[in-house]
């Protein structure tokens, strides 16, 4: 599945009310390690059709960043049934991100 761009408007629908596990990638265009992580997140999205992968730009969506206590990027948060279950900060190799899914 493709990575879905999430904003304040569709966060509830796409993340909190999702039936499947959601991997949320908080990032920004000017952040080098975020750009390094992007292709990995895209790969995980295409290889795991049973989960949903979303991208949240913290410059546009500072309210979401604030609400979820994101103060360092890249920040990957895994949600199950609308609840945060895992979080990782900074660039991590692909297997470490996949491990966060716990599936």
């Amino acid at each position: 599945m493709a990575v879905i761009k999430v904003t304040t408007d569709n966060f509830e629908k796409e993340v909190l009310n999702s039936d499947v596990t959601v991997l949320a990638d908080f990032n920004a265009d000017w952040c080098g390690p975020c750009r390094m992580l992007k292709p990995i997140v895209e790969e995980i999205a295409s290889e795991n059709p049973n989960i949903k992968v979303v991208s949240i730009n913290i410059d546009d969506e500072d309210e979401l960043a604030d609400e979820y206590n994101v103060a360092s990027i890249p920040c990957v948060v895994v949600f199950k049934n609308g609840v945060e279950v895992q979080r990782s900060i900074g660039f991590r190799p692909k297997n470490a991100i996949v491990d966060l899914l716990g599936e």
Partner: protein, 299 residues
């Protein structure tokens, strides 16, 4: 069997890969994290010859593509040890092992931590090692920078434009970093110098809310900050190789400008080597030298 296994895909390791491939040697580059290494944290590179204005991310991509297009193989695996025998070397990763004729260790360095309780759990919740990555989260909030080198001074200056107040905490009363930057910082109303002092405690609820700072004279004070940016230097990542190459007291691999270690056929390049200037351009230079010496050794 590979001709050369290169450990680390930063500027030193990838330059070595370029030189080795152009000499038609088979090359495997092993990287534990992302290619590019530390440079991906730099928003703009302004001191690399003939590339006066390039982002660290683009620089990393360019050098990676150059190495891959020349035929270097790159695997994302963490190296855990090297076995050195006269005829061949074996490089062990968490996933497997690779046999080769020569090894170039170009693993760079990691941010030095303060060593305080809860430092790891507060990373991303107020503790940061990258002002340009995370500064934007502290708009109009009080922050502190720890360190006395150029990175600390530049971080403080960068944050002074964003944060409400920047406390610059340094254990001495003079700075190792450039005087020009110190002068700029002194002109800022919202930068406060706290010298002869160290951070001795992190205060937090869910996120960082403050720090305890202790002065050499024995006094302590609590400062309310939401962000703490640590820039107290870097430590080389050579501990996994200490049984095959000689390290100095700070953990750097002992090698001169030839990039040769004490072990035949094992070379080193970049920030993890003993040297005085650790810059992008010296990392690239090391890569070229280490590859050339490795090629000589093989043939």
């Amino acid at each position: 069997m590979y001709d050369i296994v290169i450990i680390g895909a930063g500027p030193a390791g990838l330059t070595a890969a370029i030189y080795a491939r152009r000499a038609e040697k088979s090359v495997l580059v092993l990287e534990a994290l992302s290619y590019g290494g530390q440079i991906i944290y730099t928003p703009v590179i302004e001191n690399y010859p003939a590339a006066a204005d390039i982002s660290g991310f683009d620089f990393a991509n360019n050098i990676y593509n150059q190495a891959v297009n020349l035929g270097a193989e790159i695997k994302f695996e963490k190296v855990i040890r090297i076995e050195n025998s006269d005829s061949q070397k074996t490089v062990f990763t968490q996933n497997g092992s690779y046999i080769c004729k020569a090894v170039i260790i170009a693993t760079g360095s990691l941010n030095r931590k303060l060593g305080l309780e809860n430092e790891d759990s507060l990373a991303g919740r107020g503790i940061s090692y990258c002002a340009t990555c995370d500064g934007a989260f502290f708009k109009n909030k009080p922050v502190a920078v720890v360190g006395g080198g150029n990175t600390a001074l530049e971080d403080a200056l960068y944050l002074a434009d964003i944060a409400q107040t920047v406390y610059l905490i340094h254990r001495r009363d003079t700075f190792r970093g450039e005087e020009a930057t110190v002068t700029k910082l002194k002109q800022r109303d919202n930068v406060e110098f706290i010298l002869n002092s160290t951070v001795t405690k992190l205060i937090a609820e869910k996120n960082l809310t403050g720090i305890e700072v202790s002065n050499k004279d024995g006094s302590t004070q609590t400062i309310e900050v939401n962000g703490l940016f640590t820039a107290i230097g870097r430590i080389p990542e050579n501990q996994d190789f200490a049984d095959v190459v000689n390290l100095d007291k700070d953990g750097y691999i002992i090698a001169d400008e030839t990039c040769k270690t004490n072990a035949e056929g094992i070379f080193t390049a970049g920030d993890n080597r003993t040297k005085t200037v650790r810059q992008l351009v010296t990392a690239a230079a090391d890569g070229a030298i280490a590859a050339t010496e490795a090629i000589k050794y093989i043939s």
